[in-house]
């Protein structure tokens, strides 16, 4: 073939153009290395197989990860595991230099990346945090409704049903909580339509809030008043507030009112939760209590009004520092 005759010509030729071979193999673009251990990765629905009481290193809260920390006796391991997320395989604990191969061998039967059925306290914290996020959205929505700004309240009425409800639905069923999606949607529809009838809006708002509070109240009293439990929820709320606040600010201005307001609601509810356990903490950990109260007061000043100020009171970095400070103190107190 004439065609082949010119193969040699091509090979010898050298030009400025970039030429791409016709096969489809491409170099991998991720820097992740293969795990050092033979993989037994599941072949289907990796994220949904139930696997006893293993710890999901992608999702576990710190108090759960502490079990690994205790087993290996490595200080601050829980935080290190959290900071190196996400994990595609459990073996990445080694390849990401979180622990050594020898340490991994000791805990490999305790860890998973599969979506496990949460149990015990971890499950309750997860449940409470989701409902807490709903509460934060609803609190800021109420403020905006009261200011006569239904168009600004609408996204915050929407977020609980759009972002959170599906995530907590299974748990609501399991805990025999009456479904309340329809209440949330009814309120959203009314607010979308302009919330013209103030009485009806107030009525439906109340129904939604009562449903959320009702869902929270199925947690045992001892749990809801346990400072250790509540502090974990507070940290979850503040962490989300931190991300939302970062997503609100650009160019030294509050560019996105929605994310400013989201973060405001989460911090307000975190503060409410803290009030409920403040006495306990003050008694047992007076030094931490002092720092938390002062830092929380500083933090609340970042959101002076439901409508964002022209110029942000603090930068996202400054807010991040305050939130970190509270997290550090809550660890001392738990």
């Amino acid at each position: 073939m004439k065609f082949l005759k010119f193969l040699g010509l091509w090979v010898a030729s050298c030009g400025l153009a970039i030429l791409v071979a016709c096969n489809n193999q491409a170099p991998s673009t991720s820097t992740t290395q293969s795990p050092p251990v033979a993989s037994s990765a599941p072949t289907e629905q990796a994220a949904h197989a139930g696997h006893g009481k293993k710890i999901n290193i992608n999702a576990a809260i710190l108090s759960e990860l502490d079990k690994l920390e205790a087993k290996l006796g490595v200080p601050a391991l829980s935080n290190k595991i959290q900071a190196s997320r996400p994990y595609g395989k459990v073996e990445e604990l080694v390849s990401k230099d979180v622990i050594t191969q020898a340490q991994f061998d000791q805990i490999k039967d305790m860890v998973t990346i599969e979506d496990i059925q949460l149990t015990g306290e971890a499950k309750d914290v997860d449940y409470m945090l989701k409902l807490g996020l709903m509460k934060g959205h609803m609190m800021v929505a109420k403020e905006l409704l009261d200011l006569g700004k239904p168009e600004q309240a609408e996204p915050h009425i929407g977020h609980p049903v759009e972002e959170i409800y599906a995530d907590v639905e299974d748990q609501l069923n399991e805990r025999n909580v009456k479904a309340f999606k329809n209440e949330l949607i009814a309120l959203q529809d009314r607010v979308k339509a302009g919330a013209k009838d103030a009485n009806k809006t107030a009525e439906e708002y109340k129904a939604s809030i009562q449903s959320i509070d009702g869902a929270i109240s199925v947690l045992p009293d001892t749990q809801r008043k346990d400072h250790d439990f509540v502090l974990q929820v507070i940290n979850g709320l503040l962490d989300t507030a931190n991300s939302e606040y970062t997503a609100a600010i650009a160019d030294g201005k509050v560019k996105e009112a929605i994310e400013y307001q989201d973060s405001r609601g989460f911090v307000m509810y975190a503060n409410d939760l803290y009030k409920g356990i403040a006495d306990q903490i003050e008694k047992e950990y007076p030094a931490s209590h002092k720092v938390i109260v002062a830092t929380m007061a500083d933090l609340l000043k970042v959101w002076p009004t439901p409508i964002p100020p022209q110029k942000p009171v603090k930068t996202p970095e400054e807010v991040g520092t305050l939130i970190k400070q509270i997290e550090t103190e809550t660890k001392k107190a738990s």
Binding site: L7, L19, C22, Q45, A59, R85, A247
Partner: protein, 342 residues
Amino acid sequence: MRRWTQSKTVDIKQSFLNRRQLLQAGLLLGVTGAGAIGLSQLWRSRGRSTTVTIPPLPQEEMHHGAGISPLKVLREFDYGTVTQENGRTVREFRVEAQTGELQLNKSTKFITWNLNGRVPGPTFRATAGDRIRVIFYNKAGHSHSLHFHGTHPAAMDGVKPVRNGNVFIYEFDAEPYGVHLYHCHVAPVTRHIGKGLYGMFIIDPPQPRPPADEMVLIMAGYDTNGDNKNELYAFNGMPHAYMHQPIPIQQNQLIRLYVLNMIEFDPVATFHLHANLFRVNPTGRLLEPSYEADVITMGTAERHILEFSFKETGKFMFHPHQDGIAEAGCMGYFDVISGLPS
């Protein structure tokens, strides 16, 4: 044999002849990974060139914001980290939902919700039958998700929100071959897509398509003031990027565009190419393109493969023929470079 109508066959043959003539004249220079090209593949190519000439990209590119580079997005395909598990090819992709600032033009800064710092997100690419594993880590405040087009089990449909700080691993088989997409499916989806949580997902047929200069062009809109209308539009994330920096392509080179309409709020947009006709492969579901046009209409999330080559050199525009959308940022140029590399 190809299933072209008579007139189209003639067209194609002419373009083959042109390329062969160029080859014989020794004008098409380049290096090729000859070792990687088996003889059988050469035979299979039936006269089509197995090399692809891509003129060098301009050295200098404008910087628009963290990690946003329209010229890089254009030809960058993420094939993932490839491993063999239980005798199958597994492609693992890692994406992190983040927030970031993007300078859309001199007077507009926009806060994006993005994947790995880019708008659009990475172009995932696999071969039909591969196992896909996407490790999705949400660090963007709101709940987000990744919903893939193509087929997969219900549990992997990506409509369930993944809360801030959480990880979800999507795993499914890459089927069927074609041009697909992925996007966040948390409501209001218009805002989650409009803020930047979308990307292309290409599944190649088991038998590779003929070699070509392949590019991704994703049309999208930006609602910069929250009024549920788009104020700006773009190809590959950056308004007017390819007007300022035309895309260099080689004369007579087969170009294969993977085009996606990801514009929210406007129900439909077309794609129009100047001074040429492209061959349409609808949703990339065929092994060969099926008809010719110079305007193709796409609803939101619709996508196609378009193939063409330019005989003429010079600059040629491409844009939706909703001209307001084009003029608000969704237009660009191909710069067809003559056969001699300069």
